[in-house]
C-alpha cells in the first residue's frame, strides 16, 4: 500500500463524523460488554438498524469500535463476577476471578485492558501490513487443516483444567456431548431433540456459559450462606489496589515473550474463518501454562496466562476481519454482521475493494487503531468504576446478576428456552464444582465440538473415508504430525515419570534389604 493511500485514509478517519462514531461505539460497547450476560455479538446486532442512516465509514467505524470495546469490557464481569463475556474469555475467567478474590481486582482489570489494547494494536498493524497476504494463506485452509486445529484446541483442555486433568477431560467430553444436540447437518437427522423444535436448533453456548459460571456462582453463594468459608467467597476489596494500570509496564517487561506469543498466535489464528478468534485465547493460555517457569501458579490468579490469552483475544479480533474484508468470508458472527452492513452501504468486500478503492479498507483498519487506543482512557474509567461494583453489598448485587443472567440467556434467541438452558446449566455447573470438576472445559468442548465434528465428517466425505486423507495436503500433514507429536511426547514423558518412580522405589527397597 502506498503512502498516499495511507495519508488519504487518515484524512477519511480523522473527520468529526467518524471520530464521533468511534467514540460513541466505544462507550456503547463498554456498557454492553460490562453488563454481565450481554455479548459483543448482541452489541453489534443492535447497531445494525442505526447504521442504515449513516455514511459507510462511520457505520463500519461504529461496529469496529463497539466490538473491540465490548470484547474487552466483557472481561470486566468475568474478573469481578465470574461471568465471561465471550467464549474466548471463558479461557481465563477463573484466573482473573482468582485475582479479584485475592483483592487484586484492579490488577486483573488493568491487565485485561492494557494487554487487550496492546494485542489489538499489534493485530491491527498485522492487518495493515499483511492483510491481503494473510488472507491468501488463510484461503488454503480446508476442513482437513481445521480438524487438526480443533484437536489442538481440545488438547489445551488438560492445561486449563488445573490440578486434575482427568476430571477436566470428563468436563470436556460433557461439553462435546452437549454440542451434538440438534439437527445434524450431514444426515439431516435430529439428534437428542426429543421432539422439541427448540432443541433441534441445538444448545447455544452463551446461555450455558452464563449458567455454568454466573448462575452456579449465585447458587454457591446461597448454599455457602452462614458457612464458615463465606468470607472466602466474597471478593475482598482493597481500594489501594484499584489504581488503574499500576504496574502493568513492569509486567510487560517481565513477560515480553507472553505478549509476543499471544499476539502473534491471535493474529494468525484469528485470520482463519470460522474457528480463529475463539480458539486463539484458549491455545494461548494453554501454551503459556506449558512454557511457563511457574506452571503451578496457573489458575490461582497468576498474571502470565492472563497476559498471553487476553492479548491473543484482541489481536484475533482484528485479524478476523482479514478474510471478511479480503474475500467476503466472515470469520464469526460479528464480522458476518459487518459484512452485511458493508454490502448494504454499497461497499462490497472482496479483492476488488482492495484493488479499486484501497483507501476504504485502510481506513477501516485505521479505525481499529483508534478504537484500541481508546481502550486506555475508557479502561481507566472502567477500572475506577469497578470499585463501585465491588462495593455494592452482596444482597443487592446478587439479584442484579440474576436479572442479567435471565436477560442475557433470553436475548440470545429471544426465547424463554434460553433461560431454561441457563438454569439447567447453572445447576449442572454447581454440582460439578462441588465435586471438583472444572467448568471451563465444558465451554471449550461446546465451542469446539461442532468444529471438530463437522470438519472431520466433511474431510471424510471428501476423502471417501480414507483416514490418510488427513496427511495428503501439505499444511494438514504438518499440523497432523505436530499434533500427534504433542500427544506422543506427553504420553512418553508420563510413562517415563512412572517408570522412574517405580525404579526409584525398587532401588530404595533393594537398599533397605
Amino acid at each position: 500500500m502506498s503512502i498516499a493511500t495511507l495519508a488519504e485514509s487518515f484524512g477519511m478517519v480523522f473527520q468529526a463524523q467518524v471520530l464521533i462514531a468511534i467514540l460513541g461505539g466505544a462507550v456503547y460497547g463498554l456498557f454492553i460488554g460490562a453488563l454481565p450476560g450481554l455479548t459483543a455479538t448482541m452489541a453489534t446486532a443492535l447497531l445494525v438498524p442505526l447504521t442504515f442512516y449513516m455514511a459507510p465509514l462511520p457505520a463500519i467505524a461504529l461496529i469496529v469500535s463497539s466490538t473491540a470495546m465490548a470484547i474487552t469490557a466483557g472481561d470486566i464481569p468475568g474478573a469481578l463476577l465470574r461471568i465471561p463475556g465471550t467464549p474466548a474469555s471463558a479461557a481465563y475467567t477463573e484466573e482473573s476471578y482468582a485475582m479479584t478474590r485475592r483483592g487484586d481486582a484492579g490488577r486483573a482489570l488493568s491487565i485485561g485492558f492494557f494487554f487487550s489494547a496492546l494485542g489489538g494494536l499489534i493485530g491491527a498493524a498485522v492487518l495493515l501490513i499483511t492483510g491481503p497476504l494473510l488472507a491468501r494463506v488463510s484461503l488454503n485452509f480446508s476442513s482437513f487443516e481445521f480438524f487438526w486445529l480443533a484437536v489442538l484446541g481440545l488438547l489445551t483442555c488438560a492445561l486449563v483444567s488445573g490440578s486434575n486433568p482427568v476430571k477436566g477431560c470428563v468436563s470436556l467430553v460433557l461439553g462435546i456431548l452437549i454440542s451434538t444436540v440438534g439437527l445434524d447437518i450431514t444426515t439431516g437427522q435430529p439428534r437428542f431433540a426429543f421432539g422439541s423444535v427448540e432443541l433441534l436448533g441445538g444448545v447455544s453456548f452463551i446461555p450455558v456459559m452464563i449458567g455454568m459460571f454466573a448462575f452456579s456462582e449465585i447458587l454457591r453463594g446461597l448454599s455457602a450462606n452462614g458457612d464458615k468459608d463465606r468470607s472466602e467467597m466474597e471478593p475482598s476489596i482493597d481500594s489501594r489496589q484499584l489504581k488503574p494500570f499500576q504496574g502493568v509496564w513492569g509486567l510487560f517487561r517481565r513477560y515480553p515473550l507472553s505478549v509476543l506469543r499471544g499476539t502473534s498466535l491471535g493474529a494468525s489464528l484469528g485470520a482463519l474463518p470460522g474457528v480463529g478468534g475463539d480458539l486463539a485465547a484458549w491455545i494461548a493460555y494453554g501454551i503459556s501454562a506449558r512454557f511457563s517457569k511457574t506452571p503451578e501458579k496457573f489458575g490461582k490468579g497468576h498474571e502470565e496466562g492472563l497476559i498471553e490469552a487476553t492479548s491473543a483475544n484482541n489481536s484475533g479480533l482484528s485479524s478476523a476481519w482479514i478474510p471478511a474484508l479480503v474475500f467476503g468470508i466472515p470469520g464469526d458472527a460479528v464480522t458476518a454482521i459487518a459484512v452485511g452492513v458493508l454490502y448494504m452501504k454499497g461497499v462490497s468486500p472482496g479483492p476488488r475493494l482492495f484493488a479499486e478503492n484501497p483507501t476504504m479498507p485502510t481506513a477501516i483498519i485505521l479505525c481499529f487503531f483508534v478504537a484500541n487506543l481508546l481502550l486506555f482512557p475508557l479502561g481507566y474509567f472502567a477500572i475506577k468504576g469497578a470499585r463501585a461494583v465491588l462495593a455494592v453489598p452482596r444482597n443487592v448485587i446478587v439479584p442484579m446478576i440474576l436479572v442479567c443472567c435471565f436477560l442475557g440467556a433470553y436475548a440470545i434467541n429471544n426465547t424463554l428456552f434460553g433461560v431454561g438452558i441457563m438454569l439447567v446449566a447453572g445447576l449442572t455447573g454447581y454440582i460439578m464444582e462441588r465435586n471438583d470438576f472444572p467448568i471451563a472445559p465444558v465451554i471449550l468442548g461446546l465451542v469446539l465440538g461442532p468444529v471438530l465434528e463437522r470438519n472431520f465428517i466433511m474431510s471424510m466425505q471428501i476423502a471417501r473415508g480414507d483416514l490418510m486423507g488427513f496427511f495428503h495436503r501439505p499444511v494438514s500433514a504438518v499440523l497432523g504430525v505436530f499434533v500427534i507429536a504433542v500427544i506422543a511426547v506427553t504420553i512418553v514423558s508420563q510413562v517415563r515419570k512412572v517408570l522412574r518412580r517405580s525404579r526409584a522405589d525398587t532401588s530404595e527397597t533393594s537398599l533397605t534389604q
Binding site: 480446508s142 450431514t186 436448533g201 468470508i329 448494504m344 476488488r352 466433511m458
Partner: protein
C-alpha cells in the same frame, strides 16, 4: 440517590400503567396500533436478514408503527419458521419465510408445514448457481457434468446441509440428467461461506449457491460461476447461461424470500401489508439496495405467492424422494 431513582421509576411505572389502560380502550382502532414483530429465521447479517430489515424499515415508514426484526435461528431455519407459524394470529407478529419452509415436512421434521401460514407477498427470488474452482480441468457446466458422468466419485460438491436447498438443486439437476445423485459426493456444510472456503482451498470441486454469495471469490480469481440452475436468465447476471438452455432440462428450484404470518390473521392486515409490500418493491431506493447486494426484486401478491410456494413444495418433495431424502 438510590431512593430517588426508585421513586422515579415507580412514577414511571404508574405512568406506563395509565398509558396501558388508555390504549386498551381503543382496541377496535385500525391496525397497526402498536409495534409489530417481524421474525427472521436466519442469523443477523445474512442475506435474508438484510433484506428483511430493509423491508421492515420501509413498512415502518409506510404504516407508522415500529416493525422490529427479531432473529430466531437454529435447526436449519426450522426454529424460526415454526415460531412464525405458531405466533398469535393477531397481526402483530409477521415473519420473513424462505424456501426451506416448504421442505421440513417432507424431511420428516416436526414443527411446520406450508399449510401453516397466511401468505402475504414475495419480494425476492434468486436462482442457485453452479460455481467451480477457477483452476479446474473443465471451464463450463458441460465439462463438469461430463466429468461427473464419466467418473462417479471424482467430484465433491457442497453448499449447505444435506437436504438443504443447495443440495436439492444440485441432485435434482443430476437426477434430471439421468445421473445417479450419488455420483458426486455431497459434503455437508453449515452454509455457503464454509463451502466457498472449501472450494477456494481446493478440497472440493463444486459449490451450488447464489451467484451473489460467490461473487467476492469470483472477483478474487479463486472461483468461477458457470451456470444458473434455473429456466430463466437473471437480470442481474445476464451473461450466465441456465441449465435449461445447456441441458434442455426442466428444473428450476427458485429460492424465495417473502412475508408471511400465522394462519388466520385478520384479512385487513394481509391487505395492508400486501399493498405496502407492492409499493416497496416498486420503490427505486429499495430496488437499488437489493441490486447492490446482488438480490433481485421479484414481487408476487398473496394469492400468487401461495401458489408458487405450494407448487415448489411439491416439486422439491419429489426431488427429495428421488434422492432418498424424504421420510
Amino acid at each position: 440517590m438510590f431512593h430517588e431513582a426508585l421513586l422515579r421509576s415507580r412514577q414511571a411505572l404508574c405512568l406506563a400503567g395509565i398509558a396501558l389502560v388508555a390504549t386498551a380502550g381503543g382496541a377496535l382502532a385500525e391496525w397497526p396500533e402498536k409495534a409489530v414483530t417481524v421474525i427472521v429465521p436466519w442469523s443477523a447479517g445474512g442475506g435474508t436478514d438484510a433484506t428483511a430489515r430493509a423491508v421492515a424499515s420501509e413498512l415502518e415508514e409506510r404504516l407508522g408503527q415500529p416493525f422490529n426484526v427479531v432473529n430466531r435461528t437454529g435447526g436449519g431455519g426450522l426454529v424460526g419458521h415454526s415460531a412464525i407459524a405458531n405466533a398469535p394470529a393477531d397481526g402483530y407478529t409477521l415473519g420473513v419465510i424462505t424456501i426451506e419452509s416448504t421442505m421440513f415436512a417432507a424431511q420428516g421434521l416436526p414443527g411446520v408445514t406450508p399449510e401453516d401460514y397466511t401468505y402475504i407477498g414475495r419480494f425476492n427470488a434468486d436462482p442457485i448457481a453452479i460455481n467451480i474452482a477457477a483452476d479446474a480441468d473443465y471451464s463450463d457446466a458441460q465439462g463438469l457434468i461430463d466429468v461427473v458422468r464419466a467418473d462417479p466419485g471424482a467430484v465433491a460438491a457442497s453448499g449447505a446441509n444435506r437436504g438443504g436447498l443447495s443440495h436439492l438443486a444440485w441432485i435434482g439437476l443430476l437426477d434430471k440428467l439421468d445421473i445417479d445423485p450419488a455420483a458426486a459426493t455431497w459434503v455437508a456444510t453449515d452454509g455457503s461461506a464454509p463451502a466457498m472456503q472449501q472450494l477456494a482451498s481446493g478440497a472440493i470441486d463444486v459449490v451450488s449457491t447464489s451467484p451473489a454469495e460467490a461473487q467476492s471469490l469470483v472477483d478474487a480469481g479463486e472461483a468461477k460461476t458457470v451456470a444458473l440452475i434455473s429456466s430463466e436468465r437473471s437480470s442481474l447476471y445476464p451473461d450466465l447461461p441456465t441449465t435449461t438452455e445447456l441441458f434442455d432440462t426442466d428444473w428450476s428450484p427458485l429460492p424465495f424470500r417473502g412475508v408471511a404470518a400465522p394462519k388466520g390473521i385478520p384479512d385487513e392486515v394481509v391487505a395492508k401489508v400486501e399493498a405496502a409490500l407492492q409499493e416497496i418493491t416498486e420503490d427505486p431506493d429499495f430496488q437499488s439496495f437489493m441490486a447492490s447486494r446482488g438480490f433481485s426484486v421479484a414481487y408476487q401478491d398473496a394469492a400468487m405467492f401461495e401458489r408458487t410456494v405450494m407448487s415448489s413444495s411439491e416439486g422439491l418433495a419429489s426431488a427429495m424422494s428421488s434422492a432418498g431424502l424424504s421420510q
